[in-house]
Symmetry: C2
Amino acid sequence: MRIASVLLPDAGSVRVGRVVDDVVHVLDASDSVLDLLRAGTLLEAGADALSARAVPLDSVRLLAPLQPPTVRDFVTFEEHVEGMRQLAGVPDAWYAAPAFYFSNPYATLGPADDVPMPPGSAVLDFELEVAAVIGRGGRDLTPEQGTAAIAGFTIMNDWSARDLQAAEMQVGLGPAKGKDTATTLGPWLVTADEFTDLDLALEARVDGRVVGTDRLSNMAWTFGDLVAYASRGTEVRPGDVLGSGTCGHGGCLGELWGRGASHDELPPLRPGSVVSLSVEGIGTLTSRVVPGVAPTPIPPASRRGSKASLLSPSDSNDAFLPPERAHR
Amino acid sequence: MRIASVLLPDAGSVRVGRVVDDVVHVLDASDSVLDLLRAGTLLEAGADALSARAVPLDSVRLLAPLQPPTVRDFVTFEEHVEGMRQLAGVPDAWYAAPAFYFSNPYATLGPADDVPMPPGSAVLDFELEVAAVIGRGGRDLTPEQGTAAIAGFTIMNDWSARDLQAAEMQVGLGPAKGKDTATTLGPWLVTADEFTDLDLALEARVDGRVVGTDRLSNMAWTFGDLVAYASRGTEVRPGDVLGSGTCGHGGCLGELWGRGASHDELPPLRPGSVVSLSVEGIGTLTSRVVPGVAPTPIPPASRRGSKASLLSPSDSNDAFLPPERAHR
């Protein structure tokens, strides 16, 4: 079943709806998708929804299917890594375990939301991913338990400010500001029972032109593996989002730039650009880029020398430091 | 004022308390510190607490002062970066902006919690940091607004599995699993009004032996700058934690190993190790390392070749790909 979060035109209230063809059956209760996941009653609510009032799908505004408590974004498509790192190659460590980073959950946007240019960025990119949404939390799960923990799937556009990302990743952290302004989820959550396998066709279009096509089965690990790895030594909780990572074969402009496409041929996204991501069995997520705000300035780094005199004179850890560092 | 989250011995209930010397005044209401921050009533509740019943501090179990919705960890001490990257040096990008990553909010532990060895790690380290806790949320804040947004400060031990971290950072993401099992906060939140400046003495001890001493004023940016940068193009929200990054001059073992201390001289933490972090004006956060669980295995990466036949035969983005990639 297709579960959406909808803003109703009448009262401006947000409700959970079940999408069937071109109508949405709207639940009366004000519980959010996240509330239903936490209560373990999403499927039950979805079944009940069929007897709830139906409104035309095009009369409501679709919001992100949920506001996730956390967003983990993985990197599971070898072709994406290869394209993004043309000179460096795919590091051995990539094959050892499904690497991920935590992304900003406050950046979550829905299918009807325009995407502002991130402050200070001139090189915006999209990333075509599929996101798994956790239904049942757990700790130190096996891959089988990880698969069973997934409530459903949605499309994820992991908007990427490549210029900000390149700068911060020189420090070896993140990315953070490179991914901080927008992550679009939608158009709805399709419950896991709808899929017999996950060999789904993926397609990305920019301004109507196809730039990427891949299949979800090219992930190097299953979503169950990702959930297991995410929960190792910690927890996954209901509503957590786990992104597949960007698919290959043009799942973002960065991969194609890495393989030699020029910015003239394939320009970075700019205000007015329209990106459509389609995933077989889920739907299409279309977003428009709009102007953003200028960065609010912060001062440059204070260099250490200016404050050395503030150090305590009794540095009792000098035994561990080389002579030029001790007794400063 | 010192605001703590306490587990009461009688009913096992969790309450907000105000610590005054060796007693804690316990609020009757069940609102958490996070609830009070969101309501904007933390200072009011803290003032009211003085007329609430007092129990001996040593009769309660101190929990993490709050369960933060998000944890951003910065890297603002130049000496730490220099020590951790002996060969590589401090990258220019480090000086350009305060780099950070999002860490796992589910890893939050309190001052009474033992710290399990992360699954699969044999090289555990501590990191001595000070964390700012957001009181008032906002978007695109100035540094001045960022300073005003801070409700208070607590001590943060950013436990780091150096072996896991080194592996995943070769992929250029995170760290994630290297920091996933434990981040200790405590012993309480000291409200921002208690500090006339933040030139605070910092000290780290392992098994009673001083290994690190620095001053918080050696941060290259102020916490207000960090909040401003964090909110650029997005939001900070009440309860968000922003870590200063590890202080220099032995704020973690990794810095000292980077400067030449051997594992024989300064061994990685192991079950039984006791780490005490002291911050002037806040207090001391002492944690004991205990054994953890073995990693639940996940399968190795599926190599791409095995699935190439699943690709759609009509790759309409071939125009952007070099010939050897097109028409696969």
